[in-house]
Point group: C2
Chain length 338, copies 2
């Protein structure tokens, strides 16, 4: 069993901080990605002009609340556990949609929205193109999500949570990055473990040195997929990346899509978790819901192999339908696992 155990007596299981985003999802073919110079499966940041251009070329779409850490928070709540989310919306229609959906999912969400001149950039949206292979390619217009800042980090929330979950994407913006650093420092002072996701291979490329520093010194539980962890250590070999990371984090969860995942601990455990079988419709949110399942299990004292199995089940549910938020009662779905 891992040395890292959740702190006792906390009123929130998982507090998540990330970009507050509404996803705009449409099915396209590979030609669409090529025409717009997009790297399949990746997330790129776009400005308002590019958002207008890409949206104008997109087929009819649907709007569903998203955002990586926000999806994780919704997943934790769908397990019946207690989740909170910190992120910035504007006081516009999409902001109302985001706030409604996350609260209706049962997640505590009290970050004040941007208003007045601050709200001009609007609530963030992510143009998600789902190709026939069920892969998603994301184009994020950050809008006011980038304005989440140190004033939005509530020390009391951090202190009453079993774990804080931080989204690597926040590192792209100075204000959000400062908020993330503060959340990590506050967690350290409060004895709250810190979990972190590397988010995306290109995101790791942009911030490798700082992400390495975080992983080595600040992060207790790390989530990464194969591309991200290999990019972090600039190695080609997954096993080599796995060897490196176990020296740095108490727990590292490394996901490999259909190959399942492996959970590594600093004291030498290595737990293989198979992917749960499902028909893949849209991979958006797979990593987010994996983290939700794992952190729900871990924060409630489950063994790591149980937490890993909950992670795989939650990921399988979310990729079986369009959109990155769970549609099923995940607690019921995983009855009998714990």
């Amino acid at each position: 069993m891992s040395a890292l155990r959740p702190p006792g007596g906390r009123s929130v299981d998982v507090a998540c901080i990330g970009n507050a985003i509404v996803d705009v999802l449409a099915h396209t073919d590979d030609d669409f990605l090529a025409r717009h110079g997009m790297a399949k499966g990746a997330m790129q940041l776009i400005d308002g002009e590019a958002a207008h251009r890409i949206y104008g070329d997109m087929p009819p779409a649907i709007e569903i609340s998203g955002g990586s850490a926000a999806n994780t928070a919704a997943g934790v709540a769908a397990f019946g556990a207690r989740a909170a989310f910190v992120g910035k919306v504007a006081d516009d229609e999409l902001g109302e949609v985001f706030a409604h959906d996350i609260r209706a999912a049962g997640v505590e969400f009290s970050t004040s929205p941007a208003v007045g001149e601050q709200a001009a950039a609007g609530t963030a949206r992510c143009l998600v193109l789902v190709t026939p292979d069920a892969q998603r390619t994301m184009n994020t217009y950050l809008g006011v999500a980038a304005l989440v800042g140190i004033d939005d980090v509530d020390p009391d929330l951090v202190a009453r949570s079993s774990v804080v979950y931080c989204e690597g994407y926040l590192w792209d913006e100075p204000s959000a990055k400062a908020a993330l650093r503060l959340a990590m420092d506050t967690a350290h002072d409060a004895g709250t473990p810190v979990s972190f996701t590397l988010s995306d291979g290109f995101c790791v490329d942009r911030h490798r040195a700082e992400f390495l520093e975080l992983v080595e010194h600040r992060v207790d539980i790390l989530f990464a997929n194969e591309v991200e962890i290999c990019s972090l250590y600039e190695v080609d070999d997954f096993d080599e990346a796995a060897r490196r990371v176990r020296n740095h984090c108490q727990i590292a969860c490394l996901t490999r899509s259909g190959l399942g995942s492996v959970v590594l601990t600093a004291d030498g455990e290595r737990i293989y978790v198979p992917a749960a079988p499902t028909e893949v419709v849209d991979t958006t949110g797979a990593g987010d819901l994996y983290a939700a399942g794992f952190l729900t299990g871990w924060s409630r004292g489950a063994d790591l192999h149980v937490a890993g199995t909950m992670a795989a089940a939650a990921a399988a549910e979310v990729i079986s339908h369009l959109g990155a938020r769970p549609q099923a009662d995940l607690a019921r779905l995983t009855e009998g696992i714990a």
Copy 2:
């Protein structure tokens, strides 16, 4: 064969006029409907305060463009036919969503959006509750959709269309009603047949006398379900209602959910069309897509039984998934029918 044939040489197959609405869809149980005093399967108009209250109690939702006649226009385009839509959005985020989606569906849409003070009420939204029996119950906040008016009726569009399709729901608002009357008058002058849907049983209750006058004197092709046509004539018996309507319209398409539909003509034809088999997920849009299939077939010169079969196929497609716009290429779906 019916005496009523489409006029030749038109550049648009079906021009639709209706409320421009974004649907906000969520799954609920029957208790939710009871708690809010909603009549299952019906559409009720709500004000901003009620919209806020109901939305606040709704589970996480998804946003998909809707609007009855707009869904029909999108359906016509999904058959590869030429569709146009007239309806009013505001220059807000949901208005952008509506305009994007209908144009991306291939529908001509050039109604100018409400701006400035006129836009304050915002783009219309319909809170759609889908219960476990796949029935949908609708709560419409009309916003600026009610402001569609006579200035938005383009005589040139009416004159270059094979048929004009009008939504009964428009009768609820004075400005929209005037626009509908003008569209019908303009169609008459241009030799463009007028089709009309009774929309909803309660809508018929609200406007029975005027709807009767329309059906008797202005409408060439009528669409109604069993509840609506019985309400129109205040009879309990479907066959009696069917007898009455055939004296009034050139063509009447009466739908009966799983029992299929019957197409009646003024010269005595009576064509039964079975419902197309499908797994029912969400009945939102069934009537709208039935009209799309029928009008596409009719406007392109198909026999009535072929048009009816296209109607049933389009309705079956839209009820097999969440949302009231087609997700499939309807032309491919109905290959071999015509």
